[in-house]
């Protein structure tokens, strides 16, 4: 809505042939942030991003991109890597990057120069004059990413940028995203792979069933689930279960359970008093993966109940 929110959307709705794809999604991406849009396959992430970018128009709802109600007016200030990768196979890598820059207002000469520099920095210097059809999928994907940022946009939108990349290139892409943030760009990306979001994102939105189900930091998401505890008694381990929560599971040596709402201390005191002792104890927050699974499962259950 304002310049501090490069991406702002309220109540976006999109239906394809009677099937709702997005049902009232709202997004606010603060400037300079790496923001993740997470969701399972078919959740409506790509449709949301395409509406935000103005590739397709929403059936209802409002959105602004870099403060403009018409996203096309600022397309030269935006970089976009679509989910379905596409490059002209007969084009050389340098030309492909310069072409994508030229579409966004960068002159060809500067585009070619930057393309060479960026490919060199990305370890692809040897392939600047190689045709796209002669490149591996990962290389072509990297070329396309470079093409989407060659004009040094203020906002970079990446749709599933890590899919199809090997771990080395994924690492490289993460570094590239961070360096773009350091340059001052705002980055909005979608993924269903939690590890990338966990490492990169400062804030996330989880979309499931066409609706936003969560918005906040990664820690906020993880905080939705109780702490997980692992407890190893010193003595009479099997009997210790009587003092633990009902969902506690024992594998013959270690008890695993969710820390109750009141905290772990009262329970630990009673265990010590009963003479079980503490041979080992660890407590940790669940990962984003678990939080994501919980959010999506809750969403599915809620949708099913609503339908019923």
């Amino acid at each position: 809505m304002t310049d501090d929110m490069p991406v702002w959307a309220e109540g976006l709705v999109k239906t394809f042939g009677g099937t709702p794809a997005v049902r009232g999604v709202s997004l606010s991406v603060p400037r300079g942030m790496i923001y993740g849009v997470l969701g399972p396959n078919g959740a409506g992430k790509t449709t949301t991003l395409r509406m935000v970018l103005g590739i397709i128009d929403p059936d209802a709802g409002e959105r602004t991109l870099l403060g403009h109600a018409d996203p096309r007016k600022v397309s030269h200030r935006v970089g976009y890597l679509p989910e379905e990768r596409g490059l002209y196979p007969a084009m050389k890598a340098r030309e492909a990057i310069a072409f994508m820059g030229a579409l966004r207002g960068l002159d060809w000469a500067t585009g070619r120069k930057r393309a060479g520099e960026m490919m060199e920095a990305s370890g692809l210097g040897y392939a600047v004059d190689r045709k796209i059809r002669q490149m591996s999928k990962g290389m072509a994907q990297l070329v396309q990413l470079l093409g989407s940022i060659v004009h040094q946009p203020e906002l970079i939108v990446l749709d599933e940028p890590f899919s199809g990349l090997d771990p080395v290139n994924q690492e490289h892409l993460e570094a590239l995203v961070r360096s773009e943030q350091d340059r001052g760009a705002t980055i909005l990306f979608s993924t269903h792979v939690m590890s990338h979001a966990e490492r990169l994102c400062e804030r996330i939105a989880v979309i499931a069933g066409g609706q936003r189900r969560f918005e906040g930091t990664v820690d906020d998401a993880r905080g939705l689930l109780p702490m997980q505890a692992q407890y190893v008694p010193c003595d009479r381990a099997a009997e210790a279960g009587a003092l633990l929560p009902a969902d506690a599971r024992f594998d013959g040596r270690t008890w695993r359970f969710q820390v109750p709402d009141g905290g772990a201390e009262p329970m630990l005191l009673s265990l010590i008093s009963a003479g079980h002792g503490i041979a080992g104890l660890s407590m940790q927050r669940p990962g984003l993966h678990d939080a994501f699974v919980r959010i999506v499962s809750d969403a599915k259950r809620a949708d099913a109940e609503a339908q019923a």
Binding site: F16, L53, G54, I56, Y88, M100, A102, G147
Partner: protein, 404 residues
Amino acid sequence: MSAFTRQALVVARRDFTAVVATPTFLLFLLAPLFMILMSLLGLTGAAQIADTSQDKTRIGIIATPSDGPFLVAADARLRTMLPREIQPPKLDLIPPHGPNSAAVAQVLLAQPDPNFVAILYGPLEKPTILKEDGRRSIYLATLAEQALRDRKAGIAPGTQLSHAQTTDRKVTTASASSKHATGYAAVFGIFFLTLLLAGQSVGMLAEEKSNKVIEILAAAAPLEAVFLGKLIGMFGVALLFVSFWAGLAGVAIALSASFIPLPPIAAAVGLPTFLVLCALYFTMAFMLLGAIFLGVGAQASTMREIQMMSLPITIFQVAMFGLSSAAAGAPESGLARFAEIFPFSSPFAMAARAANEPEIWPHLVALGWQGLWVAITIWITAGLFRRGVLKSGPGLLSFLRRKR
């Protein structure tokens, strides 16, 4: 330069380079050469077959020795009046065989070599003509009449009585028929070039759709700019093609002008203006039909669908050509006015009008009108594409509701 224009030119540049910088473009550029070579080979073969057949074909006259020279002289004189293509076969004089001439004529007509198609026998005052070919009998009858007249007038065979002197008159005003012919040539030329070149645009978005580049283009630029850019790119290719062949034709005409007479070119608006208008109308015809083809082709997902769409497109083009040709033959008629106004035949019909009528202002109006339709066609086809491929944008009904 506006962002729209700049984006259109970026797409145009990419498309132009992608087409021109490939070996297949050379084949495309030289395609007419192959067509010309094939036509020449066909014509040469047909001419050879015709010559061989002509060599054996004869018309014959069973004539007395006294009539023979008169007949030969009359034949020589009449042949000079006829174009080579319609001249009768070689004349053979056959000695008379008394009362058996009819039977001899029957025998000669039946034999294969030489192959007589008509034979005249009997007295020149009342000859009989035995024929297979009706046209030749008229010629033989005329020969008999001429020879008889010469003989009765006592004019010796081969005598030339009149010695005419011919002087060329410089033509200062073009005839109506030469203007019509020029108009028709303009219609045909623009139609042929459009058919050859604008039809290419039908599959222009196939690459973007199959390579998913359309998503990048759609995110970076309005689809209207992408469509216009594609048309401009293909028009650049067409211009290169036309320039190449126009250059070659110019050189060929310059080299052969001294021994091959050029057909008269007459245009009511003057030749330079006519050529400029033809170039502008070719541009408009290319853009208009190219936009339709691009839009229709953009709805297709596979090469098979594109091929299937080519037929109705070609039929549409031929219909526009037929309408404009009729208009060229009947300037100032209601049909001509309709063809000039109907947007998709207007470029052809207005080129014909430039040949037939001297006013300039209708051309300025027509160019503006056609330009408007180029924009409308691009807007509609881009909208169809957006709805059909990107599944976005209002349907026709909701669009109409909104307008109301």
